[in-house]
């Protein structure tokens, strides 16, 4: 898997970049749908019907992404990053993986505990992963909201940090993950 790596490579691999932007699009859509649906009467049902299968899709994508990450070599950190910054960057990457894995599972679990059928689309259902229990549902429902708001704050910090590096430190941080290919 490391054959295409050259010492000069500054970019993440194509598959890593693709999975990053796919996740970004899905997660931002989901955060928007999530916060809109709980405040909406007229669109609640439509939005929930999208939220459920896209959540499960994110769960699948994050598993694939994690496996892909384990088997890919990473470009080096830019010299502009201090050791503390590198620590924060690595820790936040792991935190993102944890959130993207746990949030859909909490969603799936809370629908199970509420006794709802877990409808994907048409007649396709998922099995419940937890027993029907209202107290469990209440706890997971709250957890789902809190984790989602935290994930959004993590996204803002990530977004701000990349903009800071790219526009002020000017270390071409964005190019590492740019959707297009950048020649070194």
């Amino acid at each position: 898997m490391n054959t295409n790596t050259t010492p000069e490579r500054q970019q993440f691999t194509g598959s890593m970049r693709f999975l990053h932007w796919l996740t970004a699009a899905l997660v931002l859509t989901m955060l928007g749908i999530g916060v809109a649906m709980v405040a909406s009467l007229a669109n609640y049902h439509t939005l929930v019907s999208i939220h459920r299968p896209v959540g499960i899709l994110i769960l699948l994508v994050v598993v694939i992404r994690y496996v892909n990450r384990r088997f890919s070599s990473l470009p080096p950190f830019p010299v502009t990053m201090s050791s503390q910054e590198r620590f924060v960057a690595s820790a936040s990457e792991h935190l993102f993986y944890a959130f993207l894995f746990v949030l859909p599972l909490v969603g799936w679990g809370m629908l199970s505990a509420a006794g709802y059928p877990i409808v994907m689309f048409g007649s396709l259902h998922l099995f419940p992963i937890l027993p029907h229990s209202l107290m469990l549902y209440a706890a997971l429902r709250k957890t789902h909201t809190v984790l989602a708001y935290l994930l959004f704050l993590m996204f803002l910090a990530h977004f701000g940090a990349i903009l800071f590096h790219t526009l002020i430190v000017r270390d071409r941080m964005f190019q590492r993950m740019a959707p297009w290919r950048v020649r070194a």
Binding site: V35, S40, L41, Y44, H45, L74, V79, P117, L167
Partner: protein, 368 residues
């Protein structure tokens, strides 16, 4: 994880002045703020007066006393179970497995509208029947019906205002006539609906009430053909007019007790009647009835033969969310379905985390 090493980056020719660094920093801050604001906008933070599911339920809680652990509306109820025996006629309209010939289990809940789980039964209180059909393919069909022939208002906002106007005053235990008068002055469609209700007087009890979906749904059959349908369950038990003596007996549970007595005598049955709309029939407003003479399909018989207090019945922990539909039954363009689903979920979520208090209809009441 692979190890990460450092390589030098290309040098920029001109470093940023501190002034342009600050400008760029401010621009970044602004972009991040705009993204955060867009998120809050989607969440309705900039529309503090818009009716949301949470504000809907807040309003219900403010209007009556709060009863933790209970549904915020239709709080007083009892669990039932039995089965639905489909005659296969419904498969012409819907591919849902529930309409294939055969018998599937059903659980349900009879209820009275209002937020007080200990309110005294009254003949003119709206009666509810929630049902959950579980077909062998794992699909569920949940419906929450009432004994009104049509919905008294147009849309979610009107429904919210009507619920507030008709909440009993905590002191007098009766709705405030002034509030109701103000509501009716602004809602001629409700005045018309109330006139219709007067020509459809309530029956003597739950067991001989017709319960209606009110909302229209889209039934989709195996050939992909979609038609609008409103459904009802029509009692096999004969209609008996409401009995003023029973209501005045002083028994606060007289409607529930009569239901318990009659289910102990023999299983209670209803026919599931699907009314098929024609092109041009209104599907987005449950306040407008369809013309008489629409095709009606008798899809089978619902039998309820066992009854349980909420203390032991599974229905206490079920949300009869009317948007839980099997493939073959889809929502129509009526915004009320989504609004009801949202408000039911909000009520369900709130009561889920609360301590459960005994229901008015206790296990010993059900055994009588």
């Amino acid at each position: 994880m692979p190890t990460q090493t450092t390589t030098p980056i290309e040098q920029h020719t001109t470093p940023l002045t501190s002034r342009s660094s600050l400008t760029r920093l401010a621009a970044i801050g602004l972009v991040v703020l705009v993204v955060a604001a867009a998120f809050l906008y989607l969440g309705g933070w900039f529309a503090p007066r818009a009716l949301t599911p949470a504000r809907f339920v807040d309003g219900l809680e403010r209007a009556g006393a709060t009863h933790p652990g209970f549904r915020r509306n239709h709080a007083k109820g009892v669990g039932v179970s039995g089965f639905f025996e489909s005659n296969g006629q419904g498969t012409r309209l819907s591919k849902a497995a529930v309409f294939r010939t055969g018998r599937i289990p059903v659980v349900g809940r009879f209820s009275l509208s209002g937020g007080d789980p200990y309110a005294a039964d009254a003949a003119d209180t709206v009666r509810g029947l929630g049902l959950l059909f579980r077909s062998p393919d794992g699909a569920e069909w949940r419906t929450a019906m009432v004994n009104l022939p049509l919905f008294p208002v147009k849309g979610p906002q009107g429904f919210y205002e009507l619920l507030l106007a008709s909440q009993p005053d905590p002191q007098t235990h009766k709705p405030d006539p002034k509030k109701m008068g103000e509501f009716l002055a602004r809602h001629p469609e409700t005045v018309r609906a109330f006139q219709t209700f007067q020509s459809h007087p309530a029956s003597s009890g739950f067991e001989n009430s017709t319960f209606n979906s009110l909302l229209a749904f889209r039934f989709v059959n195996a050939g992909g053909l979609s038609v609008p349908v409103r459904w009802s369950v029509v009692p096999v038990q004969p209609f008996v007019p409401a009995d003023a003596k029973a209501a005045a007996s002083g028994n606060e549970n007289y409607l529930f007790d009569a239901l318990i007595a009659s289910i102990h005598q023999h299983p209670l049955q209803w026919r599931l009647i699907l009314t098929v709309g024609q092109p041009g029939d209104v599907t987005n407003d449950a306040n407008i009835p369809w013309p008489d003479g629409r095709e009606q399909v008798n899809a089978g018989t619902l039998t309820l033969d066992s009854m349980e207090s909420e203390a032991t019945s599974p229905v206490r922990d079920i949300n009869f969310d009317p948007a839980v539909l099997p493939a073959g039954i889809a929502p129509s363009d009526d915004p009320l379905l989504s609004a009801r689903s949202a408000v039911y979920s909000e009520s369900f979520t709130r009561r889920a985390g609360e301590k459960k208090e005994p229901s008015a209809i206790t296990p010993s009441e059900v055994r009588k």
